[in-house]
């Protein structure tokens, strides 16, 4: 496997009032192409901040972030937006679907950033929805679907433009155990069968078991790495 992500001495801090709060000082980390990493840790350990930096929605205050041999921490806001559209799919805890769009239109959103025509976009949307077994719900509005179904639509939205990387922030945090397991199996399928690199932040040890390895963060440092069989 080759390194997809390479974090070198990454630092992140911000100033709140007169106080400087440091989240990371010198974080080093490598994520291989095709990896499925679960990031665990207590609240305030920097899990979500790390995920945001990997996704280019937040930038480090020091160090370097390399993605597929391209340095991304120094890209401008506009360049980062383009980079995200091309390389990253996001899955949020609360799905974050657009309430006024049906499932198909929600899934289509990332494709509006491509040069695909309407017909091609429709075909890709159908494929993505079929993959999450929601082809029959294409016309349904988010409020007509269960939490699990909405999260599967969110997964379809994340994969519709075929990104290399999926970033999941507590993807099962709002779901019951059975539904959470379904979602995690879908993520596992995407990792194993479609070689998607997945980084998932979770509090749930049961969810972390679906990953290939788990990284424990505490106070901005990796304290433990655990390989899942």
């Amino acid at each position: 496997m080759t390194a997809l992500f390479d974090l070198k001495d990454v630092a992140k801090s911000f100033v709140k009032g007169k106080e400087k709060i440091t989240i990371f000082e010198k974080l080093n980390m490598t994520i291989e192409d095709g990896d499925f990493v679960a990031i665990m840790g207590p609240s305030g350990s920097g899990k979500t901040t790390l995920l945001n930096m990997l996704g280019g929605v937040d930038q480090p205050t020091g160090g370097e972030v390399w993605f597929d041999a391209e340095r991304v921490d120094s890209l401008s806001e506009g360049q980062l937006a383009k980079w995200r559209a091309n390389n990253v799919g996001f899955i949020f805890q609360f799905y974050n679907l657009m309430p006024m769009l049906n499932a198909a239109r929600n899934v289509e959103l990332p494709l509006l950033l491509t040069k695909l025509n309407g017909k091609q976009r429709k075909k890709n949307v159908e494929t993505a929805l079929s993959l999450v077994e929601l082809a029959d719900r294409a016309k349904h509005m988010p409020n007509e679907m269960s939490g699990g179904q909405q999260q599967r639509v969110a997964i379809a939205r994340a994969i519709v433009s075929d990104p290399k990387l999926l970033l999941c922030d507590e993807p099962t945090g709002d779901l019951d155990r059975a539904t959470a397991d379904e979602i995690l199996k879908t993520l596992q399928l995407l990792n194993r069968e479609f070689n998607k690199t997945i980084v998932m932040v979770t509090h749930d040890p049961a969810a972390a078991k679906y990953a290939k390895r788990t990284i424990h963060l505490d106070k901005g440092e990796f304290v433990e790495e655990e390989l899942v069989a």
């Binding site: 929605v57 506009g78 937006a81 559209a85 091309n86 996001f90 949020f92 974050n96 769009l101 950033l113």
Partner: protein
């Protein structure tokens, strides 16, 4: 264009709010369209005035008469191509409330000076030959139900005949139209000779003169020549271009432009606040969604444009409906013949001006939320959900 669906869906996501905001904007454009159309119609009396036509009235004020002998003297002034005279009759038909704009004129010269009134040769010929002949504009004829061939009595609230009667009998010999759609056709004209011979007082006096000059650029020299000719006489004249005369007449009602402009400004100012507030709230409610769109890779500038497009679409949709309603109101008013108004026309200039206002309204009300969306940081946006 790919984003249009998203813009439209965002705009229509809260139907009640959309309806109320659109309704308020619709009313503002209805007010704007109707009042502006009304003002343009009123101003058409000024706009359609001939540049080469002058009005000579008694210098004291225009209700005071001038001797009829002045007409022939003015005819001799250099650079004048035609002179006619008119006398306010103070007419009403059947009921004193049913006032008619009616003048006794010199039929021989009248149509030369006022050549914007269109009649058939036969009607003109009949008018010349019939001393009791009367010509009426098509608007007033429609209002009173007159047609060619009718014989009608018209009373004067100023003059009486030598036999004591205030009613004159007339034969309607022509219905004129205007060369422009907004030419006044609410007036009535008849023979001065018939009037002069039958009235009990004020013989051989006229109300005012209409004078055609050879060239509008010669107006000033003609005005000076006419007024100098009658200076220091018991009936001094004041000669002015017809445009100025009509403008002064309209201003007697009050500063109509200021009144109508103030109403329109107030309407739009209120709308600006309502729609602006509504847009700011709508975008604030969508903070999280904007954060998600940015996370997916939508550039800030694109979201800025989407928000602006949404407010523009709102203004254009509401404004277009307002103009459609204006068109219906204008048709309705024009159809009410009891109202003596110039023909109201929703002119292309008014429509273009309204579209410009819609665009300005859309941009002004959208700019603040659009800038907010542009500046919105993804982390902040997602944390506000």
């Amino acid at each position: 264009m790919k984003d249009f669906f998203l813009v439209f869906k965002n705009l229509t996501r809260k139907p009640l709010r959309l309806f109320l905001t659109m309704f308020a904007t619709f009313v503002a454009f209805l007010i704007y369209g109707t009042l502006t159309t009304f003002q343009v119609a009123i101003d058409s009396g000024v706009e359609l005035s001939a540049d080469d036509r002058l009005i000579a009235v008694n210098k004291i004020n225009f209700t005071q008469p001038l001797p009829i002998s002045y007409v022939n003297r003015v005819k001799g002034v250099e650079n004048i191509t035609g002179v006619t005279h008119l006398n306010w009759f103070g007419g009403y038909y059947q009921d004193p409330q049913n006032v008619i704009v009616m003048f006794a004129v010199d039929e021989g010269s009248f149509l030369d000076v006022y050549n914007e009134l269109i009649m058939t040769d036969e009607e003109i010929s009949n008018w010349m030959q019939n001393r009791q002949g009367l010509i009426a504009g098509e608007a007033i004829a429609a209002r009173l139900g007159w047609s060619v061939g009718d014989r009608v009595p018209v009373n004067s609230n100023i003059f009486t005949q030598s036999n004591g009667s205030s009613a004159w009998e007339f034969d309607i010999v022509g219905i004129y139209s205007g060369e422009d759609a907004q030419t006044d056709t609410n007036s009535v004209y008849f023979h001065y000779d018939y009037f002069n011979e039958t009235q009990s007082f004020g013989q051989d006096y006229i109300g005012f003169m209409g004078i055609r000059t050879a060239d509008p650029q010669l107006n000033e020299s003609v005005i000076k020549a006419v007024d100098d000719m009658f200076a220091n006489t018991p009936f001094e004249t004041e000669t002015v271009p017809e445009k100025a005369f009509n403008q002064a007449f309209i201003e007697q009602i009050g500063n109509l432009s200021l009144i109508l402009g103030s109403v329109v400004f107030a309407a739009f100012f209120i709308i600006l606040v309502i729609v602006g507030n509504s847009m700011v709230l709508a975008i604030r409610e969508r903070t999280g969604e904007i954060g998600v769109l940015k996370t997916l890779g939508f550039k800030s500038e694109r979201i800025f444009m989407m928000v602006l497009a949404e407010s523009l679409l709102l203004a254009l949709m509401s404004g277009a409906l307002g103009l459609l309603a204006t068109s219906a109101v204008v048709d309705l008013i024009n159809g009410i013949t009891a109202i003596q108004l110039p023909v109201l026309i929703l002119k292309q200039e008014i429509i273009l001006e309204a579209i410009a206002i819609m665009v300005a309204l859309g941009l002004i009300t959208g700019i603040i939320p659009a800038v907010n969306a542009l500046r919105l940081n993804i982390i902040t946006a997602l944390s506000r959900q």
